[in-house]
Symmetry: C2
Subunit: 394 residues, 2 copies
């Protein structure tokens, strides 16, 4: 079903942090030290596991394991939260015979509560015992919160020396759900890589995948992507061409995972692919894509299958990007409905009805003749989103 | 009921632009030339009446009338739209014996359609005949679109020389509804003022009122505030103290009107008063207030009467403002629930239940010990908003 990179084992158990009848504590272990890279939330409030994983990676770009709990975010928990986070690494490290700082950590769940150490103490021995008796899908299920399906993708790259394998998993349904914070992604790979290159490739992949999606425009205190590459494939000394192929596969993998997050957006019914081109720079294209992708009016219109170009045009106009209104065109699907600053005549309700029924809708915006372009995946906005988020805690 | 400034008459008739059984074309006329000021949308796509009114005010700061239609926005209509806009001013100007450029214009309604000149030709004579037979409330009703109630406020300022009167009206329910674009506001006053001072006072009043509210974060192609001051009160040569009083009344009037827009927000059930203080500058405070006020997660939580401080804190953290997380405090009503970067213990669900039931909720955010502060009024976000906006055109 999924191709698993060599040299990794998984575990998932039920600790009862928040959920009952499902696993909520999980672990990936690499049989040998792996080159590790991470991309973390830019939120000024950073959860304890974010602080701890970042610090470990700053000190050494090698790691052995990733430990994840769902149900408690360990965010806004002060010094005690940091101390308890360390304790969980020590507990797991002792059982595994690893230094605590070799274990990267990630949490998702309710903000503000301290970790329930009694539950950890009970669960950690079971967690370590279960290593190797679980597969990647078990783990992907154990990291879910409001997700409606687990998100796992694998890729294989064939090189002259042999095959290398990548596997990624993530959770996330609202871009953030601070009481269930939030987006987490893990990538494992069995190639032998160089630290700097691996970190830089992860950053590049995240930029065009997890950083290019939006559900509600929020960024949580817990967002992080961690990536390990352990060399267990035996394929080493990658050539420049090999690296290009591996990087392309990593980007592909991250984009597939990011797509699944938008697909599983809270209450969402559609994935909107907002492609802006002809901008004066990539940054200008991104501004427009984000304003359109965050506009509640655009998102509700497309949910309602309404070819309401006026809302898209108004969002472009207020974005703050620099362009000439007379050069702006907008297409839904492949049909241009607004061209050179003016509406194109047509019975769009009937012509576009089949396009707007789809699960994935392309919104193409051209701002002019510049070279800047950017693509953003966004969800639509529905009554169900309101329901989920207005009633989350009750 | 309302105190009407001296020297103004109103008219409102039914032209049938979009609505049936209600008035949709209206007019305010000043008996003598009035000092006129305007604040217009910053959207790059500007409706024809915005372009025309702005041009008139650039040429001369005097005007005699404001002509408003509801149902057709005359936005994204190109050169023909500009020409037809001029025609409407010529038609009304001929009947009134005024130069077209003395008539300021504002439109709200469906974007992209050209004005129905046949309807204008039929309605304009009736409109001019009805002058003086209508009151301010008739006019406030005629400028409504998705509004559920008319919005009129009057103020009287007592000076040594006598009384001066201000009356304002506005429409707006979504901050923008591009197919029903959008927010319009009109202020009339019978003081004798100086051009520069009047324009500058209007700008200051708009900054702390109409520019300090948000429903869905959108800014339409048609937003404008127009203000006339005709001197008909006989009160002239205002002293510095008189000006301060008049400016304070103008600010008060605009804030009252702006509050009503948020109160009437599409699908909204609550007005959120988001007050940020202790920021390093006013601009920094504004950034935080806007990110919190636009956050769908904050807006749905408060709709759901959920004291979910985690969502407020996460929005502050991702705002991009510069502050020390350990100095941040958040209060709902007057109750501090997050202090110095950490949650305050308490059974907030029960303690805050009475506060969260109210129609107006104060969200107080302190970022530290800086002097920067900003206050924003925001609506909550409800299933009804989605319903209105997903089904708007059908």
């Amino acid at each position: 079903m999924f191709t698993i990179p060599a040299g990794y084992t998984f575990s998932a158990v039920s600790a009862g942090f928040k959920y009952t009848g499902r696993n909520d504590l999980s672990l990936i272990v690499s049989e040998c030290p792996a080159h590790a890279a991470g991309v973390f939330t830019t939120n000024r409030f950073q959860a304890a596991p974010v602080v701890k994983s970042r610090t470990s990676l700053d000190r050494s770009p090698m790691a052995r394991a990733i430990l994840v709990n769902a149900g408690q975010a360990n965010a806004c928990t002060g010094d005690e939260g940091l101390m308890l986070c360390d304790k969980t690494r020590i507990m797991v490290g002792e059982k595994l015979g690893m230094a605590p700082e070799d274990i990267l950590v990630a949490s998702t769940g309710v903000i503000g509560d301290q970790l329930r150490m009694d539950l950890w103490e009970k669960a950690v021995p079971e967690l370590v015992d279960a290593l190797g008796h679980c597969d990647a899908l078990d783990m992907a299920k154990a990291i879910m919160t409001t997700d409606t399906f687990p998100k796992v993708v694998s890729k294989t790259v064939s090189l002259e020396q042999g095959e290398i394998r990548l596997l990624g998993m993530c959770k996330g349904a609202g871009m953030i759900c601070p009481h269930m914070a939030t987006m987490l992604g893990f990538v494992i790979c069995d190639a032998q890589v160089e630290d700097g290159w691996w970190a830089e490739s992860l950053r590049a992949a995240v930029d065009v995948s997890f950083n290019a999606i939006t559900v509600d425009g929020d960024t949580s205190t817990n967002d992080c992507i961690l990536a390990l590459a352990n060399g267990a494939s035996g394929v080493c000394a990658l050539s420049a061409q090999d690296k290009r192929l591996l990087k392309a596969a990593l980007i592909d993998l991250c984009q597939d995972l990011a797509f699944r997050i938008v697909q599983d957006a809270e209450g969402g019914t559609k994935v909107l692919r907002i492609a802006v081109s002809g901008a004066r720079s990539k940054g200008q294209a991104e501004i427009v894509a984000r304003v359109v992708g965050h506009s509640p009016l655009v998102k509700t219109a497309l949910y309602g299958q309404d070819p309401n170009w006026g809302r898209i045009v108004a969002a472009i106009g207020r974005s703050g990007a620099d362009f000439n209104p007379d050069e702006v065109s907008v297409a839904l699907g492949d049909t241009v409905i607004f061209q050179k600053g003016q509406p194109v005549d047509g019975d769009w309700d009937s012509i576009l009805a089949p396009v707007l029924k789809r699960d994935e809708i392309n919104v193409q915006i051209s701002l002019g003749s510049g070279r800047g372009k950017y693509e953003l995946l966004a969800s639509d906005l529905t009554e169900e989103y309101i329901k989920i988020n207005a009633q989350y805690r009750t």
